[in-house]
Amino acid sequence: MNFDEDILQDFLVEAKEGINNLEEGFIELEKDRESVEILKSLFRTMHSLKGAAGFFGFKTLESIAHFSEDILSKLRDGLIKPEEDIIDILLKAVDYIKYIIDYIEKNKEEPVEDKILDFLVELSNFNEKLKKRVQKETKEEIPEERKAEEPRIEKEKSEEAVEEKKEEIKKEVKEETEKVKPVEPVKKEKKEEAVVTPQIELTETHIKVDVKLLDQLMNLAGELVLARNRVVQLSQKLMDEDLTRSVQILSMVTTEMQETIMKTRMQPIGMVFNKFPRVVRDLAKALGKKVNLHLEGTETELDRSIIEAIKDPLTHLVRNAIDHGIEPSEERVQIGKSAEGTLILRAYQEGGQVVIEIEDDGRGIDVEKVKRKAIEKGFITLEEAEKVSEKELLSLIFKPGFSTAETVTQLSGRGVGMDVVKSNIEKLGGSIEINTVRGKGTTVKIKIPLTLAIIPALIVTSGDYRYAIPQVNLKELVNIDPEKDFLKLGNTEFYRLRGEIIPVLRLSEILKDNGKKVEQRNLVILTTGERFIGLLVDQIFASEEIVVKPLGKWFKNIPIYSGATIMGDGKLALILDVIGISQFVGISMEEVEKKYESAKAKIRTSSEETVFILLFDVGKDRLALPIALISRLDKIKASEIQVSGGKEIIIYRDEVVPVIRLENYLPLQSISDQESYNVLFFTERGKTCGILCSNIVGTLETTLDVEEGIYNNPGILGHRIIDGKTVLFIDIYKIIEMYDPDWFIVKRKEEEKAKKILFAEDSPFFRGMIQNYLKGAGYEVEVVENGKKALNKLLSGEKFDLILTDLEMPDMDGFSLIKEIRSNPDYKNIPIIVVTSLAGEDIRRKALEIGANGYEVKLNREKLLKEIETLLR
């Protein structure tokens, strides 16, 4: 029998504990014969022992426990009194159990010995006898005289029964053990041995420890570290050689002790993984499928609290994979797959996180079916369904009440589950995503933090106090000058980080810290996984490993903290919750939107491509462009505009900046004379120009859905109604080019032939803008609206030098497109650049993982062109 070592170890630990309880219980029972409580506890212990033994197939042990349990139940129910003989035989049973456990521990199997079988028979007979005793006492009121007679008859009868029973049990047990292994020839000597109850002292190799105790130990270790630090400082003052040496040893031992204690909480993920062979086997059998399970990275360690918490979600995902993913053998053979499905459970560490993947080679998720179901169940409308991307569809699976299984089986449940799986994972600070390729399989990827207890964090200050920011939420640190580098629009400040516009929060304002104001130059760029936020802090200290301690119930309603930690000097620092902090942006963004967004303009969810646009007026016309393109906004007096060399210029920050009047290039009415104008500054490659406008209306976070057609003017990408007014989306690159055709021209080597780029993008706005600047840079560009069309173009045989693709597109999104291209031998090596407005480390990594060569933000023209150039070289 090949049990998993770990499970067997667990069983042994538990059994030993059980034996201890039993022994103690019986001793107590001697003192207090009538105690129902003790009997109940004895019964429970024996019962669980029986169950566990049965699970492992330890037949003899199970039988002993079974009969003992039977006797105990009668005692518990008060049917019989705990007489001496009963206690004796039960104690004997405990001794045998002990013996068997010890034997199992050494030999990994049950002993097959006559003395045990003999005892089993004795125990069984005793139990029978008790049954009769009970019947007699309860059923019949037997007169004294007759009672004396009966036992004799009874005895004869029962002796017969005993013999029969003995044979029966022996046979039964032997049969069972024979199945297990060939019966060892029963050694003759054993029979001669006096039938003595074996007395075995069990040695403990594992003990159970209350986690609270470990936590306490960890706290104490922390205190010890602090005390040690003080001693180290003192010893440095005293400069005594002997003292220094002993302090060094103290220091080393302390560190090691702290680490060891931390380790006690860490357990290999194998603890969870190892239960899956059984689950998979049973499930596959029940469903008539063949599944090969591979476990990888079982030694990856996680905090035990996390191990506990991921058990259920993992079980659910494994069940799903077998139930819905892997096809029945016949079906697999038909489509040319191996008859046996493969399920891989893989764990590995990545940064401060552990990644768990559940990968199957089954039929994959039928995205179309998900779509139909989503419409059917009202998750999305028909209209939305046409635009929705694969990723978005897959995310619907995590919505409550969504299940794609046609036949709801008992095993995979009724669509309750995936939502629970997701929320459970998120509760742990983790994330979950699905990748699926139709017909090839599905991979579910879960990312969870290594430990909830110790995390790396950046220490920052606000006022006199320190705060810790978990490293996982950290993107980068920027030194800035708030005066110069922030754009202020309405109540919200923004920072422009390499073409991306990021809302900025000031920690001192969030914390309502009214203390002394210091100059803040440290901007911490945070990520919530969905968006970036800049957090302006007073000071930035080093990164440290911190021990997370929960805050009391008093602070549950404050979203910006996730706990507190004790710093090296014994003082406390609060741990900031980045998602909680991001809500502060949420509120002010809503305010901005409320102000400028009419009911007509659709606000999309954050998962769609949204950008911040700036709305401004030129004369009576309202225009818009992405804020990220603008380097600065400022006001100038009309008198500052000078004319030089036939061009209007201003002197701005010791620089001559040409001023562009949009009405000269677009069909707009000219700006009437004003005392002062707003200027949008546009800088690229060190060259700056300014665009004159009469009024800044505000900002808006929105998608770039624009209507094309009415304004077919170069420089206009399209229009849209916002706030009841037609807003023209302008192509600033085109306009600048119209103003000065040489503006963007960079000296490049004469090439024989222009390189050809295939560009897939669904947004007309970006399609127009990027196409324009690509052409401006001398490339030939073929534009398509989605992945499917791009693929068709490629398959039609047209040759391209490079592919540029958006990620979020209808019909076929960028991820699928890349997957398809990379799986086609003809296009294995064609360079692919992903352009996106959703910047995120996760997405970037995923894109590169599946085969993209580059990843750029759409609005960063300069970088994108450079990347293209590099890849085409």
């Binding site: 009538e34 409580e37 104490l220 205190e223 009391g552 507190a564 004790i566 014994g570 609060l574």
Partner: protein
């Protein structure tokens, strides 16, 4: 089983009597403004002078912050504010109070009063005329020779 039941009953009646004759309860007393307040000594974990409070911005007004008690995070409560007593406490001492199943909390006080033995039988209902303090947090009052001791309803305060 029968026997066990009887025993239980016997025990309970004993307890009732105990209440009547009252073994004295030890009370830790302290002042907040003019009020003399008391907490059963069994609820008090310790009293110490480690006043290093880290404020928690955005928390309720009566919460002064958190402190480090040998590796435990302890929430520090300003009793004067919680009890709505018009008095500015200058934190000098921590009265650490146990909270079953949760981390302890600290009531900061200026000065510790006497440790008193009181008799439960002599506890009285909180008088209606008591003013200047939130009555809902006062469980009972106890007449001392020279003044009134207000027994705090610790459960309610740290609820």
């Amino acid at each position: 089983m029968e026997l066990a039941k009887k025993e239980n009953i016997a025990l309970e009646t004993k307890k009732d009597k105990a209440l009547d004759y009252a073994q004295a309860i030890t009370m830790v007393t302290f002042y907040i403004g003019d009020f003399l307040l008391g907490i059963p000594a069994e609820r008090v974990l310790e009293i110490n002078k480690e006043i290093e409070i880290t404020p928690v911005p955005l928390s309720d007004e009566y919460i002064l912050g958190i402190m480090n008690l040998r590796g435990q995070i302890v929430t520090v409560i300003d009793l004067a504010k919680k009890l709505k007593v018009n008095f500015e406490v200058t934190p000098k001492l921590n009265l650490i109070v146990k909270d079953e199943g949760e981390a302890s909390v600290s009531f900061v006080i200026e000065e510790i009063g006497e440790i008193l033995e009181i008799f439960p039988a002599k506890l009285e209902k909180t008088p209606d005329k008591l003013e200047g303090i939130a009555k809902e947090y006062i469980k009972n009052v106890y007449q001392l020779p020279d003044r009134l001791l207000l027994i705090l309803d610790v459960e309610k305060i740290i609820q």
